[in-house]
Symmetry: C2
């Protein structure tokens, strides 16, 4: 039977979940996969934490050299998160010929080339299924299930925190601050929620998924990013009336080599499968030229779901005759000309105005002059006489056109403010 | 670059789609995967069909020996469907050391051991991702994405024909015969629809998926099977009012080694993700002990979606250092004691009765004596005086108990008939 020694760097939530899955199922993996996977070392400063998980203190270390110097360790799984010391430790592990497994999307999206170069030096492998959409095998699906396709589109709800908040705002009518507070109380949001609510986390993930899907490096700098902290519950409510559900969507498209990548709160039709993905669940919708649409749905976070993906990678790696795996074989960095800068979409626009009667005709005329067709107009009762709300849904239009039109509309005397502007993703 | 010769047995719909994907993308696969995959032989009696697809007639044969004798062919993909000649040809291919790729669920579910034995003789591999749920990588997910889990449950809409028919009955109120006729006109149902509408096709697939998920052979004989040809549109309509959607569900459960496997029309809550899977789309819901719930959604049939899965298997096989792949390493056939014969579920029961007032109390008393709790009672206006319809939804109850209760209810004077009995799968 093939014996595989594993080291776990860090025993936080996911590290602990991984240790639990590996030890509880050691006999099961022997029987079902013919692999004997043993945790040979753990890097953890908090010895009490390690002991509380049942880890033998003889294998608890604080220095990475205890891992890199151990010839029995073939695979190193990292759970620190963030850039340092994860980066330094993983580079050292790769240089010592250990394959690495990680859920660290920030590290991976920012230092992919460096990790890959270090791996190539020794023939070690890079495994990061857990970095995107927790326990859902999205990377395996792109690489081993859809590899016969030109993948043309990825649309994902890939951040559980923001989906929890938006679901609460949509289903219960909560305001953003209220929903965030509850998410924090329940452990779905961090004390400092910036990485999630401002879309950074989703940006890391869509960068990784797009790079794999399009065989071209889509760096995070090329992903336009907008968070949900400015979303007004009023727009979620009005959107609902118009048949739309608001989601923080990570979207990337590849049209004949031209790539578009964005993370933003958008409206999706309420009948779309993504609209029914609620709470902290995640889902990714993919379109391939042969397979058509595929959707994967599941838990994007949590000790055991993410641990499941980490252990899946450990077993997948262990099974290979050679661990070598450089998913991004060529260093094809995208260049500016590979990107679309003028996106086409339908837009939702909400304006506040002093006098609805007078202003409607003026706005319509601005839009008409810019060849922007209007699909729907909704006029909400004014809260006060000089605060009427007008909502427009446009037909497909270039982003630059809509932005120019909005500049003109802002200057119309009776328009007080452009309160909201959202894309509609169909 | 690794060169891989492929033979295609049959150029029907999926065979044609596969040829198209392989030839159109040859350069793409070279570039993205470093694999040069070439179709070296095609087995097809209809030379005109082959020529119309652009196949060079020099590689069109009618005798399997042209494939088995060609040392340049490493992988044989089969598209005949049914048992013969697929079985004989594939066994010959395996004995000649060729790995096989197939979408043939009937062959695979019935002759798995035989194929596996032949493969082991020569070290060839068995690949059958396309046999279940078309282009959706469900087998890859079970084997390479959820292998860290004890999979406890599979619930799938895995037959597009019946889902198309049930969706039409549900959304448009069509009767079964009407919906079937339309499905046939649109090519979603065969001229003889038995294999689909009577649940045979779904039985083959759930047998394959359960065997892989539970690491124990679940033969088709152990899958209880009920089709949709007797489904009355009236029950779909009443179910809707009660918050349920009818689906032909293939369900299997593994509870501490006790397996339950069924294909039957059942009700699912209309809020369940499976309820929103419409038309010819397929979806599979899986539950693993670590990853919790996962759902995969996509096209279960069609030339290109199924072709996508076939080509995915060809590329996956081609990439391996060794083709050997015996997914069912041990010949662990399930025995009778491994199966649950007395399933627990909620039930939907519709009765026709002469006199509602009198009969309700009697039925309630029968159920009460059997310790069956009632969750809901619905009384429909009688079509005629002596044809009132009464619907009961029970709490969880053993199947034997409900069957005994129904026998007693049938004998109550005023009950004319038990019109329908469906399980509710939550």
């Amino acid at each position: 039977m093939k014996k595989i020694g594993v080291a776990l760097l860090g025993l936080g939530t996911v590290g602990g979940g991984t240790y639990e899955i590996l030890t509880k199922n050691r006999e099961y993996f022997r029987k079902t996969l013919g692999l004997d996977v043993e945790v040979k070392a753990v890097l953890e400063k908090n010895l009490e934490r390690a002991k509380s998980l049942g880890v033998d203190e003889k294998i608890v270390f604080t220095d990475i050299s205890a891992v890199t110097a151990n010839p029995e360790i073939e695979i190193v799984a990292e759970f620190f998160g963030g850039i340092e010391p994860a980066r330094t430790f993983l580079i050292e592990a790769l240089k010592a010929g250990k394959s690495i497994v990680t859920a660290n999307k920030e590290l991976f999206s920012k230092h992919w080339f460096e990790l890959e170069a270090a791996a190539k030096e020794t023939g070690a492998g890079l495994y990061f299924e857990a970095s995107c959409v927790g326990g859902v095998p999205i990377i395996r699906t792109i690489e081993e299930g859809m590899q016969a396709n030109h993948i043309e589109e990825i649309k994902g709800i890939i951040n559980g925190t923001t989906n929890y908040i938006l679901t609460a705002m949509s289903d219960e009518g909560s305001e953003y601050g209220e929903a965030l507070k509850r998410a924090q109380e329940l452990g779905y949001a961090e004390f400092d929620p910036t990485a999630d609510v401002e879309g950074f986390d989703a940006t890391y993930k869509i960068s990784i998924l797009s790079t794999l899907a399009y065989h071209k490096r889509v760096p995070i700098e090329k992903v336009s990013r907008e968070g949900i902290s400015k979303v007004d519950a009023a727009d979620i409510k009005i959107g609902k009336e118009l048949g739309y559900t608001m989601k923080l969507l990570a979207v990337s498209k590849n049209r004949n080599g031209k790539i578009e990548a964005r993370v933003a709160p958008v409206f999706v039709p309420s009948t779309h499968p993504l609209a029914s993905v609620k709470g902290s669940f995640n889902a990714v919708y993919l379109h391939g030229d042969s397979v058509d649409d595929i959707m994967l749905y599941g838990r994007g976070a949590g000790a055991l779901p993410t641990g499941s993906a980490i252990v899946s990678d450990i077993l997948y790696c262990a099974k290979q005759a050679s661990h070598k795996r450089y998913p991004f074989a060529e260093n094809v960095e995208c260049v500016d000309k590979d990107f679309v800068s003028d996106y086409v979409a339908k837009f939702y626009i909400r304006l506040s105005a002093e006098d609805v009667e007078g202003v409607l005709a003026k706005i319509t005329s601005v839009l008409k002059n810019k060849n922007i067709n209007i699909e729907a107009v909704l006029q909400k009762k004014p809260v006060s006489k000089d605060n009427a709300q007008i909502v427009f849904v446009t037909d497909n239009v270039k982003e630059t056109s809509i932005k120019k039109a909005i500049e003109e509309i802002k200057n119309l005397g009776a328009v007080k403010q452009v309160e909201a502007l959202y894309r509609i993703e169909e």
